[in-house]
Protein backbone atom coordinates (compact mmCIF):
# COMPACT_ATOMS: atom_id res chain seq x y z
CA UNK A 1 0.00 0.00 0.00
CA UNK A 2 2.74 2.46 0.88
CA UNK A 3 4.43 2.09 -2.55
CA UNK A 4 1.12 2.81 -4.26
CA UNK A 5 0.38 5.84 -2.10
CA UNK A 6 3.92 7.17 -2.54
CA UNK A 7 3.54 6.92 -6.30
CA UNK A 8 0.17 8.62 -6.24
CA UNK A 9 1.54 11.41 -4.11
CA UNK A 10 4.42 11.82 -6.57
CA UNK A 11 1.96 11.84 -9.49
CA UNK A 12 -0.17 14.56 -7.90
CA UNK A 13 2.96 16.59 -7.18
CA UNK A 14 4.14 16.23 -10.78
CA UNK A 15 0.75 17.41 -12.00
CA UNK A 16 0.90 20.37 -9.62
CA UNK A 17 -2.16 19.10 -7.75
CA UNK A 18 -2.94 18.84 -4.06
CA UNK A 19 -2.93 15.46 -2.32
CA UNK A 20 -6.14 13.78 -1.13
CA UNK A 21 -5.47 14.95 2.40
CA UNK A 22 -5.08 18.54 1.19
CA UNK A 23 -8.30 18.27 -0.82
CA UNK A 24 -9.96 17.07 2.37
CA UNK A 25 -8.65 20.13 4.19
CA UNK A 26 -9.80 22.43 1.37
CA UNK A 27 -13.34 20.99 1.31
CA UNK A 28 -14.96 23.73 3.40
CA UNK A 29 -13.35 26.62 1.53
CA UNK A 30 -13.96 24.90 -1.82
CA UNK A 31 -17.69 24.52 -1.27
CA UNK A 32 -18.06 27.98 0.24
CA UNK A 33 -16.23 29.54 -2.70
CA UNK A 34 -13.45 30.82 -0.46
CA UNK A 35 -10.47 29.36 -2.30
CA UNK A 36 -8.40 31.48 -4.66
CA UNK A 37 -9.00 30.69 -8.38
CA UNK A 38 -5.73 28.82 -8.83
CA UNK A 39 -6.33 26.45 -5.91
CA UNK A 40 -9.98 26.01 -6.93
CA UNK A 41 -8.79 24.91 -10.37
CA UNK A 42 -6.26 22.51 -8.85
CA UNK A 43 -8.87 20.97 -6.55
CA UNK A 44 -11.26 20.53 -9.48
CA UNK A 45 -8.53 18.78 -11.47
CA UNK A 46 -7.77 16.54 -8.53
CA UNK A 47 -11.46 15.64 -8.23
CA UNK A 48 -11.57 14.69 -11.90
CA UNK A 49 -8.54 12.46 -11.47
CA UNK A 50 -9.39 10.86 -8.12
CA UNK A 51 -12.70 8.98 -7.79
CA UNK A 52 -12.36 8.62 -4.06
CA UNK A 53 -12.00 12.36 -3.52
CA UNK A 54 -14.82 13.04 -5.96
CA UNK A 55 -17.10 10.75 -3.92
CA UNK A 56 -15.86 12.31 -0.72
CA UNK A 57 -16.64 15.83 -1.97
CA UNK A 58 -20.10 14.89 -3.20
CA UNK A 59 -21.02 13.27 0.11
CA UNK A 60 -19.50 16.21 2.02
CA UNK A 61 -21.66 18.55 -0.08
CA UNK A 62 -24.70 16.39 0.64
CA UNK A 63 -23.96 16.45 4.37
CA UNK A 64 -23.95 20.24 4.25
CA UNK A 65 -27.24 20.38 2.36
CA UNK A 66 -28.93 17.94 4.74
CA UNK A 67 -28.10 20.29 7.60
CA UNK A 68 -29.60 23.16 5.64
CA UNK A 69 -32.93 21.45 5.10
CA UNK A 70 -34.03 20.11 8.47
CA UNK A 71 -37.67 19.23 9.06
CA UNK A 72 -39.57 22.28 10.25
CA UNK A 73 -39.87 22.70 13.97
CA UNK A 74 -42.15 25.34 15.45
CA UNK A 75 -43.33 26.41 18.86
CA UNK A 76 -46.87 25.61 19.88
CA UNK A 77 -48.98 28.79 19.32
CA UNK A 78 -50.44 28.35 22.83
CA UNK A 79 -46.97 28.44 24.29
CA UNK A 80 -46.36 31.70 22.43
CA UNK A 81 -49.42 33.17 24.08
CA UNK A 82 -48.06 32.07 27.45
CA UNK A 83 -44.73 33.74 26.73
CA UNK A 84 -46.52 36.94 25.74
CA UNK A 85 -48.45 36.97 29.01
CA UNK A 86 -45.24 36.19 30.90
CA UNK A 87 -43.29 38.99 29.21
CA UNK A 88 -46.12 41.46 29.67
CA UNK A 89 -46.21 40.64 33.39
CA UNK A 90 -42.42 40.85 33.77
CA UNK A 91 -42.00 43.91 31.62
CA UNK A 92 -45.10 45.71 32.84
CA UNK A 93 -46.66 46.30 29.42
Amino acid sequence: MSVKTRMMKWMFRMMGLPTCEEVDQFAYDFLEGQLDPKTTHQVKRHLKTCKNCHRFMESYRKTRSLGQSPPSIALDPEFKEKILEFLSRKGGA
Partner: protein, 206 residues
Protein backbone atom coordinates in the same frame (compact mmCIF):
# COMPACT_ATOMS: atom_id res chain seq x y z
CA UNK B 1 -56.43 38.73 23.83
CA UNK B 2 -57.24 40.06 20.39
CA UNK B 3 -54.45 38.45 18.40
CA UNK B 4 -53.60 34.80 18.37
CA UNK B 5 -50.36 33.39 17.04
CA UNK B 6 -50.59 31.31 13.93
CA UNK B 7 -48.02 29.42 11.93
CA UNK B 8 -47.63 31.98 9.18
CA UNK B 9 -45.62 34.63 10.97
CA UNK B 10 -44.50 36.33 7.81
CA UNK B 11 -48.10 37.50 7.37
CA UNK B 12 -47.97 39.49 10.59
CA UNK B 13 -48.35 43.23 9.81
CA UNK B 14 -45.79 43.96 12.48
CA UNK B 15 -43.17 41.88 10.67
CA UNK B 16 -42.41 44.88 8.47
CA UNK B 17 -41.01 46.83 11.40
CA UNK B 18 -37.30 47.35 11.42
CA UNK B 19 -34.99 46.50 14.29
CA UNK B 20 -34.69 50.08 15.54
CA UNK B 21 -38.45 50.41 15.90
CA UNK B 22 -38.63 47.08 17.68
CA UNK B 23 -35.91 48.08 20.15
CA UNK B 24 -37.70 51.38 20.85
CA UNK B 25 -40.97 49.47 21.41
CA UNK B 26 -39.28 47.03 23.78
CA UNK B 27 -37.59 49.84 25.68
CA UNK B 28 -40.99 51.51 26.12
CA UNK B 29 -42.49 48.17 27.22
CA UNK B 30 -45.07 48.17 24.44
CA UNK B 31 -47.11 44.98 24.10
CA UNK B 32 -46.97 45.09 20.29
CA UNK B 33 -43.19 44.95 20.58
CA UNK B 34 -43.34 41.83 22.76
CA UNK B 35 -45.71 40.30 20.26
CA UNK B 36 -43.40 41.22 17.41
CA UNK B 37 -40.42 39.78 19.26
CA UNK B 38 -42.24 36.47 19.71
CA UNK B 39 -43.65 36.44 16.17
CA UNK B 40 -40.32 37.07 14.60
CA UNK B 41 -37.88 35.14 16.77
CA UNK B 42 -39.44 32.51 19.01
CA UNK B 43 -39.59 29.77 16.37
CA UNK B 44 -36.00 30.37 15.34
CA UNK B 45 -34.78 30.34 18.92
CA UNK B 46 -36.84 27.24 19.65
CA UNK B 47 -35.38 25.42 16.67
CA UNK B 48 -31.84 26.26 17.73
CA UNK B 49 -32.44 25.25 21.36
CA UNK B 50 -34.17 22.05 20.29
CA UNK B 51 -31.22 21.10 18.13
CA UNK B 52 -28.90 21.70 21.07
CA UNK B 53 -30.93 19.91 23.68
CA UNK B 54 -33.21 17.51 21.80
CA UNK B 55 -36.05 18.04 24.25
CA UNK B 56 -39.19 20.04 23.54
CA UNK B 57 -39.75 21.20 27.13
CA UNK B 58 -36.16 22.31 27.63
CA UNK B 59 -36.16 24.14 24.30
CA UNK B 60 -39.35 25.96 25.30
CA UNK B 61 -37.75 27.01 28.57
CA UNK B 62 -34.73 28.35 26.69
CA UNK B 63 -36.99 30.47 24.46
CA UNK B 64 -38.73 31.92 27.49
CA UNK B 65 -35.42 32.59 29.26
CA UNK B 66 -33.91 34.29 26.22
CA UNK B 67 -36.90 36.52 25.54
CA UNK B 68 -37.15 37.39 29.23
CA UNK B 69 -33.48 38.42 29.23
CA UNK B 70 -33.98 40.49 26.10
CA UNK B 71 -36.94 42.32 27.62
CA UNK B 72 -35.15 42.86 30.94
CA UNK B 73 -31.81 43.92 29.46
CA UNK B 74 -32.94 45.85 26.41
CA UNK B 75 -31.90 49.09 28.14
CA UNK B 76 -28.33 47.83 28.26
CA UNK B 77 -28.28 46.64 24.64
CA UNK B 78 -25.43 48.64 23.10
CA UNK B 79 -26.16 47.95 19.45
CA UNK B 80 -22.58 46.74 18.81
CA UNK B 81 -24.13 43.74 17.13
CA UNK B 82 -27.61 43.22 15.74
CA UNK B 83 -30.47 42.36 18.06
CA UNK B 84 -30.75 38.86 16.70
CA UNK B 85 -27.04 38.18 17.04
CA UNK B 86 -27.39 39.23 20.68
CA UNK B 87 -30.41 36.97 21.14
CA UNK B 88 -28.69 34.02 19.55
CA UNK B 89 -25.64 34.53 21.74
CA UNK B 90 -27.88 34.37 24.80
CA UNK B 91 -29.64 31.29 23.41
CA UNK B 92 -26.35 29.53 22.69
CA UNK B 93 -24.99 30.31 26.16
CA UNK B 94 -28.17 29.19 27.91
CA UNK B 95 -28.28 25.99 25.85
CA UNK B 96 -24.62 25.23 26.53
CA UNK B 97 -25.10 25.75 30.25
CA UNK B 98 -27.85 23.14 30.19
CA UNK B 99 -25.86 20.76 28.04
CA UNK B 100 -22.98 20.89 30.49
CA UNK B 101 -25.23 19.72 33.27
CA UNK B 102 -26.33 16.69 31.25
CA UNK B 103 -24.26 13.69 32.23
CA UNK B 104 -23.07 10.76 30.17
CA UNK B 105 -22.53 12.61 26.91
CA UNK B 106 -19.99 10.74 24.81
CA UNK B 107 -18.33 12.79 22.17
CA UNK B 108 -16.69 11.50 19.02
CA UNK B 109 -13.27 12.38 17.73
CA UNK B 110 -11.73 12.62 14.29
CA UNK B 111 -8.89 10.22 15.02
CA UNK B 112 -10.34 7.57 12.73
CA UNK B 113 -10.73 10.11 9.96
CA UNK B 114 -7.07 11.09 10.20
CA UNK B 115 -6.04 7.46 9.67
CA UNK B 116 -7.75 7.41 6.27
CA UNK B 117 -4.63 8.83 4.64
CA UNK B 118 -1.23 7.42 3.90
CA UNK B 119 1.35 9.71 2.34
CA UNK B 120 -1.51 12.17 1.94
CA UNK B 121 -3.48 9.69 -0.22
CA UNK B 122 -6.81 8.12 0.69
CA UNK B 123 -6.36 4.47 1.54
CA UNK B 124 -10.00 3.55 1.97
CA UNK B 125 -12.52 3.46 -0.83
CA UNK B 126 -15.19 6.11 -0.31
CA UNK B 127 -18.71 5.13 -1.34
CA UNK B 128 -20.78 7.93 -2.86
CA UNK B 129 -23.96 7.87 -0.85
CA UNK B 130 -24.94 11.32 -2.12
CA UNK B 131 -26.52 9.54 -5.11
CA UNK B 132 -28.89 7.48 -2.98
CA UNK B 133 -32.59 8.01 -3.80
CA UNK B 134 -33.88 11.46 -2.83
CA UNK B 135 -36.77 9.85 -0.89
CA UNK B 136 -34.24 8.56 1.62
CA UNK B 137 -32.96 12.06 2.33
CA UNK B 138 -36.49 13.32 2.90
CA UNK B 139 -37.23 10.65 5.49
CA UNK B 140 -37.75 11.61 9.09
CA UNK B 141 -35.65 8.65 10.16
CA UNK B 142 -32.59 10.09 8.43
CA UNK B 143 -33.09 13.52 9.97
CA UNK B 144 -33.60 11.94 13.39
CA UNK B 145 -30.35 10.06 12.92
CA UNK B 146 -28.60 13.26 11.85
CA UNK B 147 -29.95 15.06 14.92
CA UNK B 148 -28.64 12.24 17.09
CA UNK B 149 -25.20 12.61 15.46
CA UNK B 150 -25.30 16.37 16.00
CA UNK B 151 -26.11 15.73 19.68
CA UNK B 152 -22.92 13.71 19.96
CA UNK B 153 -20.67 16.37 18.46
CA UNK B 154 -18.25 18.13 20.79
CA UNK B 155 -19.84 21.31 22.07
CA UNK B 156 -17.63 23.76 20.14
CA UNK B 157 -18.19 21.99 16.83
CA UNK B 158 -21.90 21.60 17.41
CA UNK B 159 -22.39 25.30 18.15
CA UNK B 160 -20.59 26.49 15.03
CA UNK B 161 -22.27 23.84 12.86
CA UNK B 162 -25.79 24.64 14.07
CA UNK B 163 -25.42 28.36 13.42
CA UNK B 164 -23.68 28.03 10.05
CA UNK B 165 -25.28 25.02 8.38
CA UNK B 166 -28.64 24.67 10.10
CA UNK B 167 -29.56 28.26 10.89
CA UNK B 168 -27.89 29.56 7.74
CA UNK B 169 -25.89 32.33 9.41
CA UNK B 170 -23.23 34.03 7.33
CA UNK B 171 -19.63 33.49 8.41
CA UNK B 172 -19.53 37.00 9.86
CA UNK B 173 -22.68 36.39 11.91
CA UNK B 174 -21.34 33.11 13.32
CA UNK B 175 -18.04 34.78 14.22
CA UNK B 176 -19.80 37.70 15.93
CA UNK B 177 -22.23 35.47 17.81
CA UNK B 178 -19.57 33.06 19.05
CA UNK B 179 -16.77 35.64 19.23
CA UNK B 180 -14.55 33.50 17.01
CA UNK B 181 -12.01 34.26 14.31
CA UNK B 182 -12.96 33.18 10.79
CA UNK B 183 -10.31 30.44 10.56
CA UNK B 184 -11.44 28.99 13.89
CA UNK B 185 -15.08 29.10 12.85
CA UNK B 186 -14.38 27.48 9.47
CA UNK B 187 -12.29 24.79 11.11
CA UNK B 188 -15.08 23.92 13.54
CA UNK B 189 -17.80 23.74 10.90
CA UNK B 190 -15.53 21.67 8.66
CA UNK B 191 -14.71 19.18 11.43
CA UNK B 192 -18.38 18.89 12.33
CA UNK B 193 -19.27 18.15 8.70
CA UNK B 194 -16.51 15.54 8.45
CA UNK B 195 -17.82 13.71 11.51
CA UNK B 196 -21.42 13.85 10.30
CA UNK B 197 -20.47 12.75 6.79
CA UNK B 198 -18.60 9.79 8.21
CA UNK B 199 -21.51 8.77 10.41
CA UNK B 200 -24.04 9.02 7.60
CA UNK B 201 -21.79 6.87 5.45
CA UNK B 202 -21.49 4.22 8.15
CA UNK B 203 -25.22 4.19 8.71
CA UNK B 204 -26.39 4.09 5.10
CA UNK B 205 -23.78 2.45 2.91
CA UNK B 206 -21.18 0.50 4.82
Amino acid sequence: MSHSFNKDFSSSPASHLNEGELIRGLTQKEEWAYRQLIDQWSDKLYRLAYRFLGKKEEAEEIVQEVLQKVVEKIDTFQGDSSLYTWMYRIAVNQSLMRLRTQKGKEFVSLEEHASEFENGIRVREIPDWSKLPEELFAKKELHDFLQQCVDELPEDLKTAYLLKDVEGFSEEEVCTTLELSKPAMRNRVHRARLILREKLERKYVR
